[in-house]
């Protein structure tokens, strides 16, 4: 038996060494499995190493050789059997204009749910504010102190007061970066909370809706509808959908964990949605980068510096553009095959 082992190792070692060398080249990008002749050769080496492993597995007393062959076959398995799914390189423009809107539409139920949850929350927030100003401290988080300390009319008067200096001058970029950092962090957490079977995502979306509804009703009740739209639309038309997209991801994850309406196992369900989650997270982040720029450089200027009709028009155009992008961009013709 051991005489066989020595002969076996001496005979097979060149094959193993070649496989090891070639797998290293593939890993380093020096060789490509798209070359049919090369990939057939590599496959033959891998199959021979697999057969050697199968042969040695019959003997329990060669742990070192077994470990070596398992390592070699494991590496070969990862490279050869992953070849088809990793054949395409990441193309940012294709991802943004095709993959992201495609994913959004494929998981549209999650977005619809996120919209409904936010809307219900907004209704509650509005009702709470309608029933008196005492509850405002409880509704608005601490960072929205200005919404508690002053009425919308007082704020509008302050914002529209003519000043000699641009109060945003010198810290617009900083404010923009801080907004991006904060909004991206919060949105991605809403997505990550989907791991709680979606429960915390639901809570976050609902609470976000409560704040939104409360602010909206507060301004409407005080007769500041134009200011409200002028203030919120330019950045909110992207920022709010971005949060909803992140929430959509969280709900998709939650649903996959629960497993409604699918015969697949948990692992299979999660495997199927992983690319969608990454895409939705990336899409939300890109949207929030844009929203951060607009909020710092545009939204903070009010009439008379920037007429409200300009801001409202800009926000409306953004919203219509976003809807068109998400619902129409990258649509395939019926005759076009799916990727």
């Amino acid at each position: 038996m051991i005489a066989d082992l020595k002969t076996f190792i001496e005979r097979e070692r060149p094959v193993w060494q070649e496989l090891e060398r070639e797998l290293g080249r593939v890993r380093e990008g020096l060789a490509s499995l798209s070359d049919l002749k090369y990939s057939r050769h590599l496959l033959a080496l891998y199959q021979r190493a697999s057969a050697d492993l199968a042969r040695i597995q019959g003997y329990s007393a060669e742990p070192e050789l077994k470990a070596y062959l398992e390592n070699l076959v494991g590496t070969g398995y990862a490279e050869i059997h992953s070849a088809t799914r990793n054949s395409r390189h990441f193309k940012p423009w294709h991802w943004l204009t095709r993959t992201f809107p495609d994913t959004f539409r494929r998981q549209i139920w999650g977005f619809n749910m996120a919209v409904i949850l936010t809307f219900v929350g907004a209704m509650l927030g509005g009702i709470l504010v309608l029933h008196g100003n005492e509850g405002r401290e409880a509704i608005f988080p601490s960072q929205f102190g200005h919404l508690v300390e002053q009425t919308p009319s007082q704020r509008v008067a302050r914002e529209e007061r003519p000043t000699e200096f641009d109060r945003m001058s010198g810290h617009k970029a900083r404010f923009s970066a801080e907004l991006m950092q904060n909004n991206i962090t919060v949105s991605l957490r809403a997505l990550a909370f989907g791991i709680t079977f979606g429960i915390l995502t639901v809570v976050l979306l609902f609470y976000n809706g409560v704040i939104l509804g409360a602010v909206a009703v507060d301004y409407v009740m005080d007769g500041q509808i134009v200011f409200l739209f002028g203030w919120l639309l330019p950045h909110g038309s992207i920022e709010i959908p971005a949060i909803l997209v992140a929430g959509q991801g969280g709900l998709v994850l939650g649903r996959a964990l629960i497993g409604w309406g699918t015969p697949h196992s948990l692992r299979k369900r999660l495997r199927l949605i992983t690319p969608d989650l990454a895409t939705l997270a990336g899409g939300a982040a890109v949207m929030l980068i844009w929203a951060g720029i607009v909020e710092a450089f545009f939204s903070q200027y009010h009439a008379p510096v920037l007429p409200y009709w300009v801001k409202i028009t800009f926000g409306t155009v953004e919203l219509v553009g976003l809807i068109a992008f998400l619902f129409l961009c990258g649509r395939r013709a019926p005759s076009e095959p799916a990727p």
């Binding site: 057969a51 059997h81 991006m180 991605l188 791991i195």
Partner: protein, 258 residues
């Protein structure tokens, strides 16, 4: 595919063979995380003067860029390392760990993104309490991020085929002077005993000095009792040399055999 109790992940390939991947435990993963943390902090300290210069020279734009660079470095460093180094970060490289697809396949970029997005939940409320607890009760030692992304963290072990040829060749074997006793030795030594002796020789460098002495002493005593060679033949032979001679005698290719 299933995980065994010895913290390995068994993968069955379409070629009909199975191999095992040794899974990393929570402690080694925590050490790797700490190394990454220290490395990221060190990198942040290195780039801090550049960021300060940006803030001073670039004014508001410089400050904004500095905030974004800091944010991207803190949140994206692990993700970037895992993407660029095929499932390894600096800490994982040091600790000999690698993130892999739980089916043994290569990592997809989306898996790296999702497992790092969910790190925040795993870290709740403090010191990876959620992720640590989940991985302790998971047969594949997966934290929540790994579960969602379908990944496992495995130990990378550098292996080489055993150098059997060097053990069996190139040394003078005094037992060859007694072919009839060699034939009796071959007859009396069973395959399992011979296998143990060969493995002891192949793996002798892995043993501690004391364990090596004890092991070869026991083996030599056993083989000496099976067949008695003349004293002048084995005089001065250490236990390890004696075992080597026995193994060479048993498995030396003889004429007419293959």
């Amino acid at each position: 595919m299933n995980a065994s109790r010895t913290a390995t992940l068994q993968i069955a390939t379409p070629e009909g063979v199975s191999f095992s991947l040794p899974l990393a435990g929570p402690f080694t993963r925590a050490v790797a995380f700490f190394i990454d943390f220290v490395a990221i902090m060190a990198a942040m300290n290195v780039i801090a003067p550049i960021l300060r210069a940006m803030q001073l020279l670039g004014g508001d734009t410089g400050v904004g860029l500095a905030i974004l660079i800091q944010f991207v470095c803190m949140e994206g460093a692990r993700m970037a390392m895992e993407l660029l180094w095929r499932g390894q970060t600096l800490g994982k490289k040091v600790m000999g760990l690698r993130v892999m697809d739980e089916s043994g396949l290569k990592l997809r970029p989306s898996q790296v993104v999702v497992r790092n997005l969910l790190r925040f939940v795993d870290m709740l409320p403090l010191f990876y309490a959620v992720g640590g607890l989940v991985s302790l009760f998971n047969s594949r030692s997966q934290r929540l991020g790994d579960l969602a992304a379908g990944t496992v963290v495995v130990r990378t072990i550098k292996t080489t085929p055993p150098d059997v040829a060097s053990v069996l060749a190139g040394k003078y074997n005094s037992l060859r002077d007694h072919p009839h006793l060699e034939a009796r030795l071959r007859q009396k030594v069973g395959p399992e005993e011979a296998q143990v002796a060969l493995n002891a020789l192949v793996r002798r460098e892995e043993l501690t000095p004391q364990a090596r002495i004890t092991l070869f002493e026991n083996l030599a005593t056993h083989f000496r009792e099976l067949v008695k060679f003349p004293e002048e033949t084995i005089h001065g032979l250490s236990d390890e040399q004696y075992v080597r001679n026995v193994v060479e005698t048993i498995f030396r290719r003889r004429k007419g055999t293959d």
